[in-house]
Symmetry: C2
Subunit: 161 residues, 2 copies
DNA sequence: ACATTCATGTAAGTAGTTACATGATTCT
DNA sequence: AGAATCATGTAACTACTTACATGAATGT
């Protein structure tokens, strides 16, 4: 909402589109969250449209709270990492299956790097802040998957006979 | 449990120790999960000890299910990334605050790389599968934070005047 | 004797998912 | 007329967190 007013329906598309890889959310959660935002005064219904459409706008208090969160807080707890949890448990399967697992991690990382490169090409990077930060986020993804690819190749060589 | 029988109390220490950075879990969740595991026959109480201690052991069916999960399934949905979500929203604050944010990401990545190097030194890597896979997981962490550090430095230079 | 550690569990609440339910407008 | 899209919402459930509650054994 800080980048512009939107309805729940609009936000569903954003969360299933450009934000899907960063912060996925379901339709149901988006609508209930908008309700809470309006109740606590962080957002408000700016306009009503066709078919019951409700366009939400961030309030002054909501923008203040967003800025406070951005500059004053940091992620508190470690993110869960299912891929690494599996690595920890690889001792429960045969060496061959462990090799297969690491090969698969590598292949999926390879595919992700290619996909992000294609996404970068096809995206119409307009002007403005969201384009700058969108590119920066995309670069993180590219580096992340490239790192995974190299690591998986290295890890495979560490497995004992 | 696949690496050896353990009580809820033992597992709390594992989840707050070596698994804390990969799959954090609370005491309360561990106990209720052990209850569910026993109810569904994936684990069982192997022995009772002092002070009400209950030592759980994985069953044949539990080990089969673990192996099935490891070789047949893959993480289905994208992991949420709070650090990147913040990057997407950096357009809501001043350039200086965005620079500060990226400098902080870099500093924390730097600290994490140093901490993991120290952890590697002080850990007694015995023999066996858990040592091999523990080291591989640690290497992932080191590469991950090194990547973050380089990326944050690069990102800072991308910000417009 | 007192503090610490070992050890288990429950209650209340928040966050999030899946599935269901409904209806208006627009396109072909 | 019928299909697709736009648009919102709720119910039931699973996952997870925080806080509370209890007591036995061990160390000083």
């Amino acid at each position: 909402l800080a980048y512009g007013s939107a309805s729940g329906y609009d936000l569903v598309r954003v969360f299933h589109g450009s934000l899907a890889a960063v912060w996925p959310a379901t339709q149901s959660q988006i609508y209930s969250e908008l309700g809470k935002l309006a109740e606590t005064g962080l957002a408000e219904v700016a306009a009503q449209g066709m078919r019951g459409r409700k366009e939400y706008r961030v309030t002054e208090s909501g923008l203040t709270e967003l800025r406070r969160w951005l500059v004053e807080t940091r992620p508190e707890k470690a993110q869960r990492n299912e891929m690494l949890l599996r690595v920890f448990l690889l001792g429960a399967v045969t060496r061959e299956q462990a090799v297969d697992y690491l090969a698969d991690v590598r292949a999926r990382a390879e595919a992700a790097v290619a996909e992000l490169a294609a996404l970068e090409q096809r995206t119409d990077w307009g002007e403005g802040a969201s384009a700058v930060y969108g590119r920066i986020a995309l670069e993180w993804g590219t580096r992340f998957y490239a790192m995974n690819r190299e690591w998986a190749a290295w890890a495979r060589k560490q497995l004992p006979q």
